[in-house]
């Protein structure tokens, strides 16, 4: 990477904030706020009741504390649970009606919403704080019968689908943060791919937290009907602030017979400064259900941002012959902490899962892989392969692997491997000898270390992710 380019992006380049007028719900978490959110979004009665049921449950639940990265207690009463650009009291009809400031923001982030500027044909749903601001390429998708819109819109226009699938993978009685999300979720994306349709373009959501003291609680629901295919990308950024912000999203995927969903995430929330001040708490619940026969769900994630990343994208392999995959790179630098991994729950016959996890920690960071492979007694011929590799850069960081393996089936095959090592002197010397400086050498070696996962990303993302890997480790050597 050129020196100039490096300097330009050394700082967190998405750290700006947009000065835009917002409407917020009153501070705090109570029934009134939930009613306010529901009313603002003109939601049907059943959804409000659903939210209130979740809230009731939330009051009984306790925050989990078994995770490796500890964090100061979050004061849920001092957060804003709803924040939307003011111009959104009436949702703009088309992108041309959008607040120019918003367009400018997304332009800066590299996501121009005006379609004509977009040549590579990715449909984007942009979520700004609590609401979805724009969805592109709608017409083209509608032609194929694909529904791609914000979840609030889906509640209005496709209530049957939403009612049928919302909360069917992550029930409102799940753990604390999932239940919190169920009670106060504000917006997110909704995707429905009809029978036998192969989605012609990548679908993408871009999440942006802008307002301070705001938690972002979005909810994504993707349904792939029989024989369909969709590839979905998710990107995230937030401005630099010296407070910690909470991001507790829920993502539900449902794959019916012969359907395939590919879900990729490049998460680059603000990680906090080099002393560990500020940054996003990324406590996300992602779960996919392979309901149908021969269905497949594949998670790919590149986690470089956030002060604390705490998430386990999981697959419930219910259908016979279904496949679950999880590819992950988690990079932590400075005082960042990550506790991530996956759960593969094998219920159907001949189900297969594959887990490839690469953890890299530098500076004072802590990186944990935690995963579960659970083979039920009915999952005959189930197969799992897990590989977790960790790389340590510097002697103040930590790398941990905590896999849980449960096997109740004699016909199942489970393999788990994990290694931990550092970049060897020989490798560095070899690169130095060929004219690369220390940082370039580390970036090259780390990229090679992650290659298996980077290959899984759609091409446009792969290039960005590769750069991100280099940038995230800036200043960790030498």
């Amino acid at each position: 990477m050129k020196e100039k380019e490096l300097n330009k992006i050394k700082e967190y380049k998405y750290g700006f904030s947009t000065d835009i007028e917002t409407i917020k719900a009153p501070k705090g978490l109570n029934e009134e706020v939930i009613k306010f959110i529901s009313k603002t979004k003109k939601e049907p009665k059943w959804l409000l009741e659903w939210r209130l049921k979740a809230y009731k449950r939330l009051k009984i639940l306790k925050e989990p504390n078994w995770q490796k990265p500890k964090y100061p207690k979050i004061d849920y009463q001092s957060l804003y649970y709803y924040s939307a650009p003011k111009s959104f009291t009436e949702k703009p009809k088309s992108i041309d009606d959008l607040d120019p400031k918003l367009l400018e923001t997304y332009k800066k982030l590299g996501i121009p919403l005006q379609e004509q500027q977009r040549l590579n044909g990715i449909a984007v749903d942009a979520v700004f704080d609590s609401v979805s601001v724009a969805t592109t390429f709608k017409d083209k998708l509608t032609e194929k019968g694909i529904i791609f819109c914000s979840i609030s819109e889906a509640v209005q226009k496709h209530p049957n689908l939403v009612k049928k699938y919302l909360g069917s993978v992550i029930p409102i009685t799940d753990h604390y943060f999932a239940t919190l999300n169920s009670a106060v979720f504000t917006d997110g994306s909704f995707v429905y791919i009809p029978k036998g349709v192969r989605c012609p373009m990548e679908l993408s959501t871009y999440f942006r937290i802008n307002a301070s003291q705001t938690g972002q609680f979005e909810r994504t629901l993707i349904i792939a009907d029989e024989g369909s295919y969709v590839s979905y990308l998710e990107g995230c950024t937030a401005p630099m602030r010296d407070e910690n912000q909470l991001h507790a999203a829920n993502v539900e995927l449902i794959a019916l017979d012969d359907a395939e969903i590919k879900y990729s995430t490049v998460q680059n929330w603000y990680p906090g400064d080099e002393n560990g001040k500020g940054g996003i708490y990324n406590f996300v619940t992602k779960r996919g259900a392979c309901r149908g026969k021969n269905s497949k769900i594949s998670w790919t994630q590149v986690e470089t941002g956030s002060a604390i990343t705490w998430k386990y994208p999981s697959c419930i392999l219910q259908g016979d012959n279904s496949v679950g995959e999880f590819y992950s790179i988690a990079i932590t630098n400075n005082y960042q902490k990550a506790d991530t991994g996956t759960k593969m729950i094998h219920l159907g016959k001949n189900t297969k899962s594959k887990i490839i996890s690469k953890g890299i920690s530098a500076g004072n960071a802590d990186n944990t892989y935690r995963g579960l492979v659970d083979i039920n007694s009915k999952a005959i011929n189930a197969r799992n392969y897990t590989q977790c590799d960790s790389l340590l850069i510097g002697n103040k960081c930590g790398a941990h692997t905590i896999p849980y393996i449960k096997n109740k089936n004699p016909n199942a095959n489970i393999e788990h491997e994990a290694t931990t090592s550092k970049i060897s002197e020989e490798q560095l010397y070899y690169c130095n000898q060929r004219g690369l400086n220390q940082e370039e050498a580390v970036s090259l070696i780390v990229n090679g270390f992650c290659k298996e996962v980077l290959q899984q990303l759609p091409m446009e993302f792969a290039v960005e992710a590769q750069k991100l890997v280099g940038i995230s480790l800036e200043g960790s050597v030498g």
Partner: protein, 419 residues
């Protein structure tokens, strides 16, 4: 259960002849135990073994009878190799013979009057052991003495008395440049089910070597929790092997602290859980010193409604550079009701380390069975050969040849008898 235990403890603490200070330690530990109760699966360490449930299913009441001290005849000695002997009968020291060693170099005492040390271990079964322990072994191997023959600690339970709860301790200190091989051989000749709760502590000083072997021949309904803590100093070497095939519940928990540089720890085991058994090996190896090494290999066979568990953790401290840690657990499940759970864990804070773990579980290889059958073996014979081979792989890590052969024989016998 707990209420009964309270009255058992009151009687016990009144009748056992110990010093006041120790009776206070007992009381304190029992009070602490009461506040936590038996471990259940809400605790991370007991996630796969709900001991509270297991003990309440197996026992209505735990009883200790201190008056039980009768003569006994025991002719079940290990004949395969010559060895030094110590006998414990129903939890109490009975007799010993160190005829192969220099008396002055081995200092031996029983723990009837209470040990002169602070009780260790903090899980609730350790607390229970501290409250109820009756006897045990206190052994010093003096500086520079290498024991010539292995020591077998016979831990025998017999007679149809109503005792069903035993708590013992082994405390062994291997001083500088010394060597010792111990086989702890626990055997129940009784038909009454027992709950045996043992806590063992070993200190390995500079350049010393300890080889520790556990072998259990308890009956089908017995429960055994065996806790081992070792501290290993500079250049000392600890080797441990667990052969686990008897008793209904058998949990071995081993904490191994590699305190100083060049120390090493090897923990290996073979589990053969045949019918309605619940066997667990839990290890925690802490690398605190530089250039330390650890190696673990656990192999298990699970069949007929049995469950085996391996929970292993390698912890590498920030100072412990140049650490080498390895951990492998393999399991074969033979039928649908069997279960194998494992949690191989790495927690690493130093960068110049090589740590890896592997865990696999599956079935016997069809092709291998076919190969053996095509050479004229029956299916049963073929399977037995594969099972033996699988378990022997772990046993062959034992570096004491006599004990290795003895253990291989035990496995052979067990597999052949098994239908």
């Amino acid at each position: 259960m707990i209420d009964n235990l309270k009255s058992t403890f009151e009687n016990f603490n009144k009748n056992i002849t110990t010093k006041n200070t120790i009776s206070k330690i007992r009381q304190d530990n029992f009070d602490k135990f009461l506040s936590s109760g038996f471990p259940n699966k809400k605790l991370e360490d007991w996630k796969f073994s709900d001991f509270k449930k297991i003990i309440s299913q197996n026992f209505k009441n735990l009883k200790i009878n201190l008056k039980d001290k009768k003569k006994f005849s025991f002719d079940n000695h290990i004949k395969e190799f010559t060895h030094n002997k110590i006998f414990f009968l129903n939890g109490f020291y009975n007799k010993h013979s160190f005829k192969y060693e220099d008396d002055k170099k081995i200092i031996f005492s029983n723990l009837k009057n209470g040990p002169a040390y602070e009780p260790k271990g903090n899980n609730s079964l350790n607390l229970l052991n501290n409250a109820f322990f009756t006897d045990g072994l206190l052994l010093y191997v003096k500086k520079g003495y290498k024991c010539k023959k292995p020591l077998v600690v016979y831990n025998i339970f017999e007679g149809n008395n109503k005792n069903n709860f035993f708590n013992q301790k082994l405390i062994v200190n291997i001083e500088e440049n010394s060597e010792l091989n111990i086989l702890v051989y626990t055997i129940n000749l009784n038909s009454n089910p027992i709950f045996l709760n043992t806590s063992n502590f070993f200190l390995l000083e500079k350049n010393s070597l300890l080889k520790l072997f556990y072998l259990n021949e308890l009956s089908k309904k017995d429960l055994n929790y065996n806790f081992t803590e070792t501290k290993i100093l500079e250049n000392a070497n600890f080797e441990n092997f667990i052969l686990s095939y008897s008793s209904s519940f058998f949990k071995n928990e081993i904490n191994c602290d590699l305190k100083e540089k060049y120390s090493s720890g090897f923990i290996n085991g073979a589990i053969f859980a045949k019918k309605n058994q619940h066997h667990e090996i839990k290890t925690k190896v802490n690398h605190f010193g530089e250039t330390t090494k650890s190696y673990q290999k656990i192999k298990s066979i699970v069949d007929k409604n049995s469950k085996t568990i391996f929970q292993g953790k390698i912890y590498v401290d920030q100072k412990a550079q140049k650490t080498n840690g390895y951990q492998l657990s393999k399991a074969i499940l033979l039928d649908k009701e069997s279960e194998f759970d494992s949690k191989p864990e790495l927690e690493i804070y130093a960068d110049d380390v090589k740590c890896s773990h592997g865990s696999t579980s599956g079935n016997l290889d069809e092709n291998s069975i076919f190969y053996l059958m095509s050479r004229g073996l029956s299916e049963k014979q073929a399977k037995n050969i594969l099972i033996k081979g699988f378990l022997s792989d772990a046993v062959e890590t034992i570096t004491n040849m006599e004990i290795r052969d003895y253990f291989l024989k035990k496995i052979e016998k067990n597999v052949n008898e098994y239908k």
